[in-house]
Amino acid sequence: MKRRSIIMAAMAAMTVSRASVSFGQSPDLPHPLAAVWDAWKAAYMEPNGRVVDLMQGGASHSESQGYGLLLAATMQDADAFNTIDDWTIRHLRVRQDNLLAWRWLPQTTPAVPDNNNASDGDLFYAWALIRAAKAFDRPALTERATAIARDLSDTCIQNHPDGSGRLVLTPAATGFQRDTGLIWNPSYLMPLAMEDVADATGTDRLRIAARDGISILDDLASLGLVPDWVELRAEGSAPVAGMTDANGYEAMRTPLFLIWSGMPQHLAVKQQARAYGAANTVAGSTPTVMDRLNGRVLEVSDNPGYSAVSGLVGCAVRANAGSFMPSFDPSQPYYPATLQFMTLLAQIETLPRCVPL
């Protein structure tokens, strides 16, 4: 890359980093993640707007579409936004309500074998529509987001079984309920998204569920790391048999979302940072699955996306500048790559001092 181009890009990045960057920066300057976005699109998004997760057999799901749509809206890429949205509507919007079926399988009939939704996919989808409505000046997108938010509120928000009155965002419209409690995925809680959607659509239950979810995270973090899955019961919480209660690939999003939501000092973030710091792994590998109670490392990965999450979490709890986040690598699988992208976004939008070193 010629030195002059690098300097121009660096100047753009400098200009962006000067402000406490939030979504909606000046369209005249390239976003500092412009190169990352181009690489992400080329690696994970097909021309028809389908975001492909090769590790799921090449499937697409509401999560990947929701993440992709959010990234497109944040990067103000109208073409990509429209393409992703179009594919998603045609292939995942098959339910009676405004929520999305959670998964589409290629070369399978039917391509959508399960009509259940995934609430995090719908949440991110609605959030993307909100951001896009602002970025592209398309009020109609807010109306669509409102419809999704209301259906989320109606079908995916339940009372905590402990009688506290706290609202819980369930993983899906069905399948979460047990006789003894309800199954919860803490990483589906994205407070910033829920607050933004609630503000834009007037869906107050989402806002309440966000705040109550943080409170539940307080409970879990007081015991150790946040688990991937947990059963919320009248008497508290318990592991779910047959589902991992380790701090793994799901739960690693929790500290990221808390940081992105402006809560870098939440106990869950601190616990995660402590566990990462105590892990004795080889250079270049990051713990991806840890015992939630004693932090013992059960699995590692050398995908830079996970290292990025670890880097941002580590920086969030420190006071000094700079974080150890590696360069974006489009050769890694979709999930760590997308996590890395969101980590970089969270850093730019909420923790500028944690600029990657």
């Binding site: 799921q56 998964r103 259940n116 409970d219 508290g236 699995e299 006071a319 000094n320 699988p333 070193l357």
Partner: protein
């Protein structure tokens, strides 16, 4: 639910515990509730609660994803087994160098000062080598010595590619260790100079050195330097991660400092955004990088640079835009001045020992040993004066007929001596006289070259104990003194170039490679003289062909088209067939055309004759425009005004390679065959072709006295015989006329 009772009991057991979320420190002691092992607390105070298995039917409808990337083996326990990527340079090694060094011929060696950083835990001494397939392993050895003591010896056996030999490092010490790797090699079939060229061992210096125990990547100065050095060795770059536009001065300063890390050349600073994308899975900066943060954005970042250790492995030098150059001196000191060849004082007899050359021992069938030295810049001998070597040498017995010993001065053979007939004895001192005008002001070389054929050439070389040729360090060198005179020469300005000398193209609209060349020059031109005051420094202005109008070509009677033609790659030459066609077509030209061509031939004949006469009268090259006809190169170095020899210009062609131009210019300062005269063309092969006109007369830098008059006159006469003869003729004529006038005037008075 399969175990409802158990579930109920356990839920009761859990309930008071798990409901106590208000515990101040999060510690929950279950030892009273569970009849299990004592619950221990971790150092963080987190309780280690055994997981409870409750058989709850998993709902099939909940979204589930396969996230791990381990395939059928989901568990990859964390280990600290060390670097598992053998193909990547491991910065946990104090390497011997950065390039591949070739040991060639029957006997050759390399000496390296290996630095073992303080605080390191040494594992092994590693030598990575390969050898030519022509080597007869049974009769060859590689020996490694530490401080003169042999620590390992083995037969070379790596004709197929690089192999690594692991040696114990227990004799090495922290700090500098002198390591010598010596190769004694025999050709398996032939003997002689050609066979000598065909036997070699390559030492990969980047993969040879001390293997330091992993985990010594503590963020300190020494480790950062090692890591940076390894990074530069890996791909020649040192990433500079920044979201601000770095000042050009800072970039140059950092590049110059990187040159002092001990690599074969400075690093290319690779500007990177903090939000960069790796390319094809390759990340630059895997060992070390520099991060620059804007002080205005990160006021908490200290001015003083600090080193941090990334969990991904690299060591990071963190600095802010408020960091000043002197704050980097501890971390990345500037390179010290180049060690130049020793001075030789004309008029005084000097030994080779005094020129830092010990006894020379040649053990190969072909070997050349150079003895560089430096004469004063204002030493000038153009006459037939002689310099002299009083050679003390000996050679082995029974060397075959045809063995030769060549003595060369700046590449010109001045004496050929046989190396057969009187071998095995110390020969009487032999005076070797040669023309002093083969020497030049500045850097010179005297070379001793041995060519010893095989005996016979189609059989392996016989074993000969000891050197084949020895030249004593007591050999004397006597270069005649000269009056302090100077001819305008590029080499004078070249030696005064410093990193501050280069005039960078002021704007960024020029071709990027010119800026790159200027930057590379500023980095490569490490000063030859630490003490050079600013007013004595030379100035080098770099321009591209697009900016050639800014170059004062008219001062050298040079036109733009000639320069453009010389610095632009030309089309292939016409083939013979095309030439035949041209000749055939020519045959059918009209008479008027033929007449025109005949007159052209006559004109060119007159011109060439005049040029020959001119060359006799004023020895020197043709005018520059004529001299450049038919020449091709990648850069042209000019000294437009001989009265200002420190003002140099460099015109670079479109195809010029920044690195090779910069290196050629830097190396040319010390090379007797480097740029000289008033213009020099750098060919595509990296060779300098110098234009030496006879334009400017030598300048005399001392008063003319009776003592130096003869030498001064001799130089002027040699500079231009016709001019000098003409001057003498004038003096003679004036003398004759005066004499005649006197005779005539006095003769008349005598008659009266």
């Amino acid at each position: 639910m399969r175990y409802p009772v158990l579930a109920f009991i356990l839920s009761c057991a859990w309930s008071p515990t798990l409901a106590q979320v208000g515990a101040e420190n999060g510690q929950i002691d279950l030892s009273l509730l569970l009849n299990g092992p004592q619950i221990a607390s971790s150092d963080d105070g987190l309780p280690q609660i055994p997981s409870v298995e409750v058989a709850i039917q998993v709902p099939a409808a909940l979204p589930r994803y396969v996230r791990d990337d381990a395939g059928d083996n989901p568990t990859l326990p964390a280990t600290d087994a060390g670097d598992t990527k053998p193909n990547r340079p491991n910065f946990a090694m104090s390497a011997m160098g950065s390039e591949i060094h070739r040991l060639s011929g029957e006997y050759d060696e390399i000496a390296v000062d290996l630095d073992v950083p303080l605080g390191s835990a040494m594992n092994d001494l590693i030598i990575t080598y390969r050898n030519s397939i022509n080597i007869m392993a049974d009769n060859s050895t590689i020996t490694v010595l530490h401080e003169g003591v042999e620590i390992a010896k083995w037969q070379p056996n790596a004709p197929a590619g690089f192999q690594t030999v692991i040696l114990p490092a227990n004799t090495l010490t922290l700090g500098l260790n002198r390591i010598v790797i010596r190769a004694e090699q025999s050709h398996r079939i032939f003997c002689g100079p050609e066979a000598s060229f065909a036997i070699w061992t390559d030492i990969n210096l980047a993969r040879s050195g001390i293997d330091v125990a992993n985990g010594t990547g503590a963020p300190n100065i020494d480790n950062f330097r090692r890591a940076a050095r390894a990074q530069i060795v890996a791909d020649g770059t040192l990433p500079l991660v920044t979201a601000v536009v770095p000042a050009t001065r800072l970039m140059r300063d950092l590049e110059r400092r990187s040159a002092a890390l001990g690599t074969s050349g400075p690093a290319r600073l690779l500007l990177q955004s903090p939000y960069s994308v790796t390319s094809e899975g390759v990340t630059s900066g895997a060992q070390a990088r520099i991060v620059l943060l804007a002080a205005s954005d990160f006021p908490g970042v200290a001015k003083l640079p600090e080193v941090r250790h990334s969990p991904q492995g690299p060591l990071i030098l963190l600095m802010s835009t408020d960091t000043t150059a002197d704050m980097l001196d501890d971390l990345l000191p500037l390179p010290s001045a180049i060690v130049v060849p020793p001075d030789l004082t004309p008029g005084q007899v000097t030994t080779l020992n005094a020129l830092n050359v010990d006894d020379i021992a040649i053990r190969s069938r072909y070997r050349r040993v150079d003895v560089p030295f430096r004469l004063p810049d204002d030493w000038l001998v153009l006459t037939a004066q002689r310099a002299q070597l009083d050679l003390q040498y000996r050679y082995a017995e029974n060397l075959p007929e045809g063995s030769l010993f060549l003595i060369k001065v700046n590449g010109i053979t001045v004496r050929r001596l046989p190396l057969f007939g009187e071998g095995g004895v110390v020969l009487p001192e032999l005076p070797v006289r040669f023309s002093a005008r083969l020497l030049k002001p500045g850097f010179n070389n005297i070379s001793f070259e041995a060519i010893i054929p095989g005996d016979p050439s189609d059989m392996t070389c016989p074993n000969i104990e000891g050197p084949l040729l020895e030249v004593s360090g007591n050999t004397l060198v006597n270069v005649p003194a000269s009056p302090r005179m100077q001819l305008p020469r590029l080499s004078l300005g070249m030696q005064r170039l410093t990193p501050e000398s280069v005039d960078l193209v002021a704007n960024l609209d020029g071709p990027p490679h010119v800026e790159e060349i200027a930057t590379m020059l500023a980095v490569h031109l490490v000063a030859l003289d630490d003490e050079l005051p600013p007013q004595d420094m030379a100035r080098l202005t770099v321009r591209s062909l697009e900016r050639i109008n800014q170059v004062p070509l008219d001062m050298m009677s040079l036109d733009r088209s000639t320069v453009v033609r010389a610095l632009t790659p030309q089309k292939p030459e016409r083939t013979d067939q095309a030439l035949d066609v041209a000749v055939t077509e020519d045959r059918f030209a009209q008479p008027s055309q033929r007449a025109g061509r005949n007159s052209d031939e006559i004109r060119s004949g007159i011109t060439s004759s005049w040029l020959r006469v001119r060359a006799l009268a004023w020895p020197g090259d043709l005018p520059l425009a004529n001299w450049m006809v038919g020449r091709q190169g990648q850069a042209l170095l000019l000294m437009p005004d001989p009265t200002h020899p420190l003002n140099l210009w460099l015109i670079v062609g479109a195809s010029a390679d920044a690195g090779s131009v910069a290196r050629a210019l830097a190396a040319g300062r010390l090379d007797p065959l480097g740029p000289d005269g008033q213009a020099a063309l750098l060919t595509e092969d990296g060779v300098w072709e110098s234009w030496r006109p006879n334009a400017g007369a030598p300048s005399l830098n001392e008063p003319l006295t009776l003592a130096n008059a003869r030498a001064v006159a001799g130089n002027y006469a040699s500079w231009s015989p016709v001019w000098f003869v003409g001057l003498l003729a004038c003096f003679m004529s004036i003398s004759v006329l005066l004499g005649l006038n006197y005779v005539v005037s006095t003769r008349g008075s005598l008659k009266r």
